[in-house]
Each structure stands twice: as structure tokens, then as C-alpha cells.
């Protein structure tokens, strides 16, 4: 739906007010990327929805002035640093390096509710942040709520700035562990007549980061079961749908589940796994280990990264602190991801009630409230109105 004139003017006024305040705010400086004068800037104006790029600014004053005059619907800068950020031909810009960017975007699971989607995205961000720290030892990492369906991670650690596209792709492959299967993360083979078992199954940890990660989460999982009470443990074991003989059974008998639980509790099998990083077991336990590994391989890697964003070393990325023109939310710099709630913390407009015409029936949760929106006229807080206008779901009456 094309926006009507009244709504357009309203949007320009509200966005402009926002940027006027933002630019006065001291915190805004933490949103400005380092070497901003070596970056390309771009924006989409509210009225003419076409990307205007190859801008560059020598000082902040110049930049603020420009964007107050041309109110952006979306505001971007390049992850790359250039000799000549304002030259139009990409090949002549003189690429000097680029921040490493990850985009966690949940657009794949579009059957999910928005709030749920954002929660899942947050889990991925936390996993990603942890691995970037522990495995890659990276510093200078910014987490930004995109204002849309996910998060942007900006890494400005000096060691990554020169990485080429294919090297970034290798990092993505690592984080998302796409090419991993059980054989890459677990050593296994059949043994005959060992440890007093007629036919045993040997398992060992693979000496790689993913091997270690999977091995220790198997142990954590087993520890959890051991520490449960009998009923919970039986339920948990049954959920795995493994059999004593068959790898998959619909319904493991209570007796068998109990047997597994008691074995875990009484034997020192978990201790041995911790200590030796290898174990030889019977078929039942083999089925258990393999199922846990399969589950972990689904859980542990980072999902929903939009890979081209990471591998494209000349891409424009939304400026933290700016507004997302598709939602009216702030692309918010996140201080503490654990406590961050986008549907509260990224909302910047007032709760003054306003009359608006909706073209759909829908429910929206924002700021801990659920808003029921009916087709036609509604009275809603300004932040809801702006959200609906940005989404193209509502307009102000002429």
C-alpha cells in the first residue's frame, strides 16, 4: 500500500524529531562506527523510496546536518573502510578492510509469532557471541538489535578487518557447522570381546573444537539425567526414543528406561567418559549416545545467519541508533543481551493515544501489552500507530 500524504508527513515529522534528539544525545557517539569518515554512507529517504548511496562525511556535524535535512527511513553505512568512500565505482573505492558482520535474521521461520522469533534470535546471538569469544578470542564486538527480525553483530577486532570474503565464509561454515555429522565429531567403532562384553561399541572424543563441544554436552546431558529423580529421568530417557536394540523406537518400556537410569546412577560410566574421553559400551548405551550427539548437533551450531551479509565485504549495514523504517523501532545497541527485550527497549515513540485506520485485524504485543487491532478505526498509542504505518498496515485519516 502506498502511504497517503497525511501519514507520510506525520512519519517525516516523527522521524525528524527523533533524529534531532538523537544527534543531541551524548550516547549517540557510541553508535557512530570508528573511522566513520572512511565509510560509505547510504539512506532511503521517506518520500522517494530509493537507495541513495556513496555518501561520505568528513565530520559529524556535516553528517547530522545532512540527515536532518533528508530524513532517512533507513540509514546505513558500509562495514568497509575505503580510501575514497564517495566514489561510485566499487572497484575504485580502494577497499582497506571491513568489520566482520553477522546477521541473525529469523525470516525463515515465518510461521512463528514475532515475539517468539525474537526470543529464538536472541538465543542464537548469545551462542554466537560466546563462540566468537571462546574459540576465536575476538574482542570489540557490538550486538545490535536490527529493528526488524533479528540482530546484527559487528566485530571490529583488528585481526579480522582484512579477512577476505572466502575467509569469512570459512568462519560462517565453522559457526554453523553445516558440514558436520556424527562421524566428524565422534570416533566410533565396533569391538568384539572387549571389556567383557560380547560385542561392544567404542566411542572417543574427536580432537577438534566441535568434537570437544559435543563430547562435553553429552556428558552434561548424562549428568542431568543422573541427578533427576526416577520419574523425571524415565520421562527424559523415553523422550529420546531410543531402544535397547533398535536405534529408534516409538515407545521405550518403562522397565528399560529404568534400567538405563540405574546404570547411569550406579556405574562410573560418566566419570570414565570425563576422564578418558573414550568409552566402550553396549548397544543400548550406544543408541543413547548417538541420539544425544544427533540432538546436540542440531542445537549447538549457530542457526539463521544470513550468510551473504558476512561474506560480502562491501555491504551497507544499518546504523545503530537509527530507526528501522519497516517497524519504527530503533536499531538498538545492546548492552546486556541477557536482559534485553526488543519489544520494550527498542521502542522510542510516545504512548499518547492517536486515531488510526487499520486495514487488517491483528494482535500485537509491545511494551508488555497486547493490542487488539480491528479493521478500520482504532485508538492506539503513538508507538503502535507508527509501527502499523511503517508496516503498511494502517494510515491516518485525510
Amino acid at each position: 500500500m502506498d502511504m497517503n500524504e497525511v501519514s507520510t508527513i506525520y512519519l517525516i515529522r516523527k522521524f525528524n524529531e527523533y533524529y534531532t534528539n538523537l544527534f543531541k544525545n551524548k550516547n549517540f557517539l557510541s553508535c557512530i562506527p570508528p573511522s566513520f569518515n572512511e565509510r560509505e554512507w547510504g539512506f532511503i529517504p521517506i518520500r522517494y523510496k530509493r537507495m541513495w548511496r556513496h555518501l561520505s562525511f568528513q565530520n559529524l556535524g556535516e553528517m547530522k546536518k545532512f540527515f536532518l535535512k533528508n530524513t532517512p527511513l533507513h540509514l546505513y553505512y558500509s562495514s568497509a573502510y575505503y580510501e575514497h568512500p564517495d566514489i561510485k565505482k566499487m572497484s575504485e573505492k580502494g577497499w582497506k578492510g571491513a568489520d566482520l558482520i553477522f546477521d541473525i535474521d529469523m525470516n525463515i521461520k515465518n510461521d512463528l509469532k514475532y515475539e517468539k522469533m525474537l526470543l529464538l534470535a536472541k538465543d542464537e546471538v548469545i551462542k554466537l557471541y560466546d563462540i566468537l569469544k571462546s574459540d576465536f578470542g575476538l574482542n570489540d564486538i557490538q550486538i545490535v538489535f536490527s529493528g526488524g527480525r533479528g540482530y546484527h553483530i559487528h566485530v571490529r577486532d583488528r585481526s579480522v578487518l582484512k579477512l577476505k570474503s572466502e575467509e569469512r565464509r570459512e568462519m560462517i561454515d565453522y559457526l554453523s557447522a553445516n558440514s558436520l555429522n556424527i562421524d566428524n565429531v565422534l570416533k566410533k567403532r565396533e569391538v568384539v570381546g572387549d571389556y567383557g562384553i560380547e560385542r561392544g561399541y567404542y566411542y572417543g572424543m574427536v580432537d577438534s573444537s566441535w568434537g570437544e563441544r559435543v563430547w562435553s554436552s553429552v556428558i552434561t546431558f548424562l549428568d542431568e539425567i543422573r541427578n533427576m529423580n526416577e520419574n523425571d529421568a524415565i520421562k527424559k530417557i523415553k523422550e529420546l526414543k531410543i531402544g535397547k536394540r533398535d536405534k529408534f523406537v516409538k515407545d521405550l518400556s518403562k522397565k528399560d528406561a529404568l534400567e538405563m537410569y540405574q546404570m547411569l546412577k550406579k556405574s562410573n560410566i560418566v566419570e570414565l567418559m570425563k576422564k578418558d574421553r573414550k568409552i566402550t559400551t553396549d548397544k543400548f548405551f550406544k543408541n543413547l549416545v548417538e541420539r544425544i550427539v544427533e540432538n546436540e548437533l542440531n542445537m549447538l551450531p549457530i542457526k539463521n545467519t544470513d550468510n551473504p551479509v558476512t561474506t560480502d565485504i562491501k555491504r551497507l549495514i544499518r546504523l545503530p541508533g537509527s530507526l528501522h523504517g519497516g517497524t519504527g523501532f530503533q536499531a538498538k545497541l545492546v548492552d546486556n543481551i541477557d536482559n534485553f527485550d526488543p519489544l520494550n527497549d527498542a521502542i522510542v515513540f510516545s504512548d499518547e493515544n492517536k486515531k488510526i485506520i487499520s486495514i487488517v485485524d491483528t494482535d500485537i504485543s509491545m511494551k508488555d501489552n497486547k493490542y487488539k487491532i480491528r479493521k478500520d478505526e482504532n485508538k492506539l498509542p503513538e508507538f503502535v500507530c507508527l509501527f502499523l504505518i511503517c508496516r503498511g498496515l494502517a494510515y491516518l485519516e485525510d
Binding site: 574459540d135 576465536f136 558440514s179 566441535w210
Partner: protein, 345 residues
């Protein structure tokens, strides 16, 4: 400069040469060349023919797919710049890549046998970060990524490595492979040197047969019947890499093979295309091609979709619309064929 001078050199040689002659690119080797008093002109004029012959042998060996064997230490060191001059004058990217490949392979085999201290020294000269931890060698992940990207082997994927706080732990054998890869890149980046045309003509006279041999290799079978003109940009890109002798990534090999197979190119012709790869190995290539087209496994793989090609960085168009928004390179090929032969636009 005459024969006496070489003999003189031989007697004044310091023992160090026996450790460095296999690595003529080292700072010490360069110093040795400088100290030898042999000038660039001496080399160009070919007045010391044994040196020139040895330099030429280096290039020939690469062309014939052989690892260079040593003659004698001083010749090895002195002939290294000669090989660089020859390669620069012939100025064929394919040949340079091939040379770089075999040189690095030679260096890899030698380095495996070296002592730790020597390896540490070379790593430092190449700017490869290294922490020594017991038997293990640890290098920083960006150095690892940078130098391992052309190795087509799952074992080398980051995902199969142990990495902690940015440091990747490697066996000695793998660490020296990284050094060798770095060396290969350095050769490729520095050659061709900028050498005067006139100077080149002098050296070209002495290496004419290399050029003839190179031409013959170039005139290998082209793809018949199929109109390669109509290939989509991604496939053209891969083919032009094979023509230049640039190594292909696993995904590139896979995409090219599935594409060509699908449009009816014969297996042997597909294998022919890979002939120019620096690390071409007939049996290996046949095995891989067989596998992909399903002759050995029974599963025929399909040509990856455009979006997959994009994630692997093979898709070369900026926007889908340049490729008519197709979802698969095969479709783009068919559209191009139609346009060309049926005049459909």
C-alpha cells in the same frame, strides 16, 4: 664473470649454504646471491651457462609436472632468480601458477624433515604467527584461513580443527604445509617481475623450446558440440580459471562437473578441462568425476541452485535479474541458447 669466480665462490662458501640451498627465497639465500658478486646482467646474458641451465630446468620441471631435483647447492641458489626472470619473460599466468605449485610442493617435502628451530625461523620470515606448545604448533586463525584456503581437503576445514582463543593447534606436518602455501602465494604475487623487453629477448632465445611446449599444452581439446558461449557467468568464470591454471575449490569443481554432465558433455571431456590444474592427477580426477556424475556411486548429483552458488561465492552476477531470475545455472544456459538460436529475447 668466468668459471674461476665460481670456483672461488665454492671455496669461500660458508657452511650455512647446506641448510639454505633448498630454500633460495630465504633472506640468507638472497644475501648469498648478493655476496656472490654475480649481477643481474650476468644472469641475463647467460654468460654463466650452468646457472641459466639450472634455472631453466626449474621451469621445465614445473611445466612437466615434476618436483625439481637438486643439482648442487650454489647452482640451486643462483638459479632461483634466473627461473624468476625466465618466468617473467614468458609471462604466462598458467605457467607461473604451475611453477608456484611445484615449488611449494618441493618446499613442503623438505620442510617436513627440518628441525623445529629452522621452521620457526622460516615462519617468522613469512609473517606466519606461531606458538610452540610441546609437539604442537599453534597458529593464529587468520593466518590459517589465509594460507589454507586453496587446500581442497575436508581435514583442513576450520570446522574440523581445534581452535581456542583464536589459536589453532596443528601437527608439524600441517604447519609446514601452511608455510609452503604462503610461499606459493608469494611467488604468484611477485611474478611476473617487470623486466625490460630488450633484456627479455636475450633470455627468451635460450628458452624457446619451453614456449613451444607450452603452446602445445594450450591447444588441448576444447569442449566440442556444446556452445560454451552460452554458458552462464558463473560457469564461464570457473572455466576461465581452469584455463588460467588456477586451482578450483571443491565447490567449483563440483558445480562445473554437474553442470557439464547435465548438458551432455562426455566424461573424458570433463576430465580434460581439469588437466590444466596445477595439481592435476588423472586418477584422482577421474575418481572424483565418476563420483559426482554417479558412475561409481549410483547417485547423480544435480547442478547446485543459484542460491547455493551464491553462498559458495561462485555466482558472479550482482543481481538475479542479470540472469533472468533463474533458479539454476542450467536454466540460464537454456535461455541463452534460445536467445542465440531461436532469436527469442
Amino acid at each position: 664473470m668466468g668459471k674461476e669466480t665460481i670456483d672461488h665462490l665454492r671455496s669461500s662458501i660458508d657452511t650455512d649454504i647446506y641448510t639454505i640451498y633448498k630454500y633460495p627465497f630465504l633472506d640468507d639465500a638472497r644475501k648469498y646471491i648478493r655476496d656472490s658478486g654475480i649481477s643481474f646482467n650476468d644472469l641475463l646474458e647467460g654468460s654463466i651457462s650452468t646457472i641459466v641451465d639450472c634455472g631453466r630446468k626449474r621451469v621445465e620441471d614445473a611445466l612437466n609436472g615434476k618436483i625439481h631435483e637438486y643439482d648442487n647447492p650454489y647452482l640451486e641458489i643462483l638459479s632461483y632468480p634466473v627461473a624468476n626472470i625466465i618466468l617473467s619473460c614468458i609471462n604466462d599466468i598458467g605457467l607461473i601458477k604451475r611453477y608456484a605449485y611445484f615449488e611449494s610442493k618441493r618446499v613442503y617435502e623438505e620442510l617436513k624433515k627440518e628441525e623445529n628451530n629452522f621452521i620457526i625461523k622460516i615462519a617468522a620470515q613469512f609473517g606466519l604467527r606461531l606458538k610452540k606448545d610441546g609437539e604442537k604448533y599453534e597458529t593464529y586463525f587468520t593466518d590459517y584461513l589465509n594460507n589454507s584456503r586453496r587446500i581442497n581437503d575436508q581435514k583442513w576445514s576450520l570446522v574440523n580443527k581445534k581452535i581456542s582463543k583464536g589459536w589453532i593447534s596443528l601437527e608439524k606436518e600441517d604447519f609446514v604445509r601452511l608455510i609452503a602455501e604462503k610461499y606459493r602465494e608469494i611467488i604468484e604475487d611477485t611474478l611476473p617481475l617487470n623486466i625490460d623487453k630488450e633484456d627479455c629477448s636475450k633470455i627468451i632465445n635460450r628458452v624457446g623450446d619451453i614456449i613451444t611446449c607450452l603452446k602445445e599444452k594450450d591447444n588441448r581439446e576444447k569442449i566440442s558440440k556444446i556452445d560454451s558461449d552460452c554458458f552462464p557467468p558463473c560457469i564461464k568464470g570457473i572455466i576461465s580459471k581452469t584455463e588460467k591454471g588456477i586451482n578450483l575449490s571443491h565447490h567449483e569443481r563440483f558445480s562445473l562437473t554437474t553442470f557439464l554432465h547435465k548438458i551432455g558433455v562426455k566424461k573424458d571431456e570433463i576430465i580434460q578441462l581439469f588437466r590444466n590444474m596445477p595439481d592435476f592427477d588423472f586418477e584422482m580426477t577421474r575418481y572424483q568425476v565418476d563420483n559426482i556424475i554417479g558412475e561409481s556411486s549410483g547417485t547423480t548429483y544435480r547442478c547446485p541452485s543459484c542460491s547455493t552458488m551464491k553462498t559458495y561465492g561462485i555466482c558472479t552476477t550482482e543481481r538475479n535479474k542479470d540472469c533472468n531470475n533463474v533458479s539454476n545455472p542450467i536454466k540460464k544456459y537454456k535461455i541463452n541458447l534460445d536467445r542465440k538460436y531461436k532469436g527469442i529475447v
